[in-house]
Amino acid sequence: MNFYFCEKSTIMEIVTHTWHWAISGFLIGMVMLLLNYFGKVFGMSSNLRALCSMTGVGKSVPFFDWDWKSQRWNFVVVLGAMLGGYTAVHFLSDVSNVAINTKTIEQLATLHIDAPNGKLLPDALFGNEIYRSPKMILILILGGILIGFGSRYAGGCTSGHAISGMSNLQLPSLKAVIGFFVGGLIMAHFILPLIF
């Protein structure tokens, strides 16, 4: 494609369509390297531990008695990421987004989960109706507990192990990532059909 002759609207289309995996993966790798260049290590779940420590529970639970203030930079990254999410969803999206496999959509229909049609999240799990369903509220909280407990037990999440750890050729990270996928496969293939 020759950008020189591109209309402005064409450039906007490139931005608002789903970004290609190769470009996105490269940019995520660059985010990690950039943080390394700033003297930091990329890892999002550390923020959860810092959030716990902020409440002062470190006085009674030693795990939360650490120098969480050295992680303040990570909160700033999170703040930026939240603003980025807001910008991308409100100004850089269009109806062509989240064009997942039609087979996946058929399978979702059997679980009574709505098709994306440009949305990032299904209403069945995240829409306003869920507040009237104790089951759905519990599912979201339980999912969060598994994520928080699991990432701290494993010492990292997708960013800390899959991206940072694997890039640094860490064997423990490979074990954790295999664990992530085994858990994910069990949930997607065997447990989700029982829940929905």
Binding site: S45, A81, L121, Q170, G179
Partner: protein, 137 residues
């Protein structure tokens, strides 16, 4: 202001993760059903980019912004914690379709129900902290 560079990197990260749809529950579900290469491509290219970058940093002894050597600490040796912790994390990841980065990004984007996942995630982290010494690592 030192904080500006972290805001900018975070902002960029939030846009990339949203625009490649790694924050989407649908994309995570599709990935675990092996019905698209999209997410696998993102993860593999990110690791490849990171691996090459870290090798370049090591070979040319590139220093960080303050002039200190860039050292990324090794992960603790062990197995149990990685297998079990990883498995539990994976169960949660596929259930609610978000890992810690996307949880924050989605809340910022205005999906307030994702706040329930955040409450759970902080609670889960707290539970780990309480039982840490009783768990096999």
């Amino acid at each position: 202001m030192k904080a500006i560079k972290y805001i900018v990197v975070g902002f960029f990260f939030g846009i990339v993760l949203t625009k490649c749809e790694a924050v989407s529950w649908y994309r995570i579900y599709e990935m675990f059903l092996f019905q698209s290469f999209h997410m696998y491509g993102i993860i593999m290219v990110a690791i490849l980019t990171g691996t090459i970058g870290l090798q370049v940093i090591k070979r040319y002894e590139i220093n960080d912004i303050k002039g200190n050597p860039i050292v990324i600490p090794d992960k603790e040796k062990g197995s149990t914690r990685y297998w079990i912790g990883g498995l539990l994390f994976g169960l949660g990841w596929a259930l609610v379709g978000a890992c810690p980065g996307p949880i924050f990004i989605l809340i910022g984007a205005g999906f307030l129900s994702v706040g329930l996942i955040l409450i759970g995630a902080v609670l889960g982290t707290f539970i780990y902290g309480v039982f840490k010494d009783k768990l096999p690592h």
